[in-house]
Symmetry: C2
Amino acid sequence: MVLKKLGKQTLQFNSIPSIKSWASVVGPMEGQGPLADYFDVIWDNTLGSEKTWEKAEQKLMQYSMELALEKAGLLPTDLDFYLAGDLLNQIITANFTAGSLGVPFFGLFGACSTLAEGLALAGVLIDGGYAAKVGVSASSHHDTAERQFRFPTELGVQRPKTAQWTVTGCGSFVVENKSHGFKITQATIGKVVDMGTMNANDMGTAMAPAAFDTIQTHLQDTGRKIDDYDLIITGDLGLLGNNILKELLKKQGMDTGNVSDCGILIYSPEQDTHSGGSGCGCSAVVLAGYLLEQMRKGVYKRIFLVGTGALLSPTSSFQGNSIPCIAHGVVLEYS
Amino acid sequence: MVLKKLGKQTLQFNSIPSIKSWASVVGPMEGQGPLADYFDVIWDNTLGSEKTWEKAEQKLMQYSMELALEKAGLLPTDLDFYLAGDLLNQIITANFTAGSLGVPFFGLFGACSTLAEGLALAGVLIDGGYAAKVGVSASSHHDTAERQFRFPTELGVQRPKTAQWTVTGCGSFVVENKSHGFKITQATIGKVVDMGTMNANDMGTAMAPAAFDTIQTHLQDTGRKIDDYDLIITGDLGLLGNNILKELLKKQGMDTGNVSDCGILIYSPEQDTHSGGSGCGCSAVVLAGYLLEQMRKGVYKRIFLVGTGALLSPTSSFQGNSIPCIAHGVVLEYS
């Protein structure tokens, strides 16, 4: 039996699952950034009328999924499955949202690679013939993530220059089994890459080798060259990690003029986020808010979105472990 | 296009993915229970020569997957994908194990429903033609779970009678695209059910309605009756939750003589675990260590394994939220 795979790690979707609709809801910081015009909803505070940031994050996810459904003229019950994840312990944002939507649910954890993991599995469920419509969400919230992984933001701890700023936002997508417009044609599933880095305030350096591994494997699996893509965009290496990735690619003789990162795009240098944005929500809102619109305009015809996840926990860091990283890539084509 | 689905929630696997091999590694408490003879390896302490319980849990997962591979005459690199999850924040057990195995990895979170979620997605990847061999693991560890979700075990906090005892153990499986022996024929993907219960020391009561919903939906989707199964086994409702589930089924006029629970089977009443076992590892080791052997002996021909997950976090409980629960079911048939 011939598998629907290219090489060792790349899934090939022949029936071409497509993104039918999408929506992004973000916080005030993201609303002051260069992509502000592309987001559907911008909150003017980080609580969104909720009593806790955790409940606010759940609202971001639920509202963005409901908005994506509304744009497609669908109800939650029209979805065959819902795939979602976030950064919080036990992915409570996704769990409570799945409860509100009332749709059969697969919970995912891939840190900032979660959106790519979700789109890849949506591709499998649809291309494999198990679903007609699948919802996918990935969220993060600056204040929930900081107090869980580092320090409560109220403490005002100074962030090192290598740190990235966790995005407050959620991007949600409806993927369907009709080949039109925004197609998901392939997905390259990453292996965990652990280069022994231990600095939990420098995720970009930790994750760059995983992104490199997935990009190199993808090009080998598909027989493509790097300039067969209009854009190769990671999410989220930040400025530091993006530089390392480019160096690694250049050493293989590749031109990196088309290599960018969602964490770089989402904030302006004046916003002083240091190394750029991060969090599951970052690549989700940059894709939902900006990249798909650029594709519709014809700026990009084929992009490779590479979600990069740092799979550590505070406990694993406290116990002296290095940071295991992963990168999942999905090929998006517009025609 | 006709979907490979029955009803709204049940995936139908026509090419019949099958479990080729499996292994279970457990701690001392499980090794003193009634299923001791069925486990592959029993540790005589909970640290397994590691310095922390978290590293010990990772060793449980890695060793059980390597053992399952060895039984099948395979290397990790023979796997197309690895699907795994556990109870720890950011599923670090699975992340580090995936790093050691070096296989393309999908990280899952479904609390105690994780094994069923993994077997269902393994079924999709194989039946859909995307993979020939998939590894699946789910683990838990009593001491890592207690200190993360409740209190460090060194404190000696008295447990209420409604509490379940988190299993120390991991079950791992190799699923392949050859129809033989132990077949995964269907999977019913659960919706989140939240009945508003808030007692984090009584998971069985919280999860029973989710198990009921998935069993009832499965029977409707497939047009089967409850006695078309030799065994319907939840993982893990414990004694209390099992009683509630049986009451709910009886109210629908169903005979519940074939309804049992992995958390009840794994410990004897003399072990004083109160309501029975729980944790991602519980259903995984009971399936790997006991149920598949019973199927091989002909005791059971068709079982419905229903993984039940309580999708709360300490943070969501502290903030006054109820417990969202989910149940995923997989049909296993032996011939």
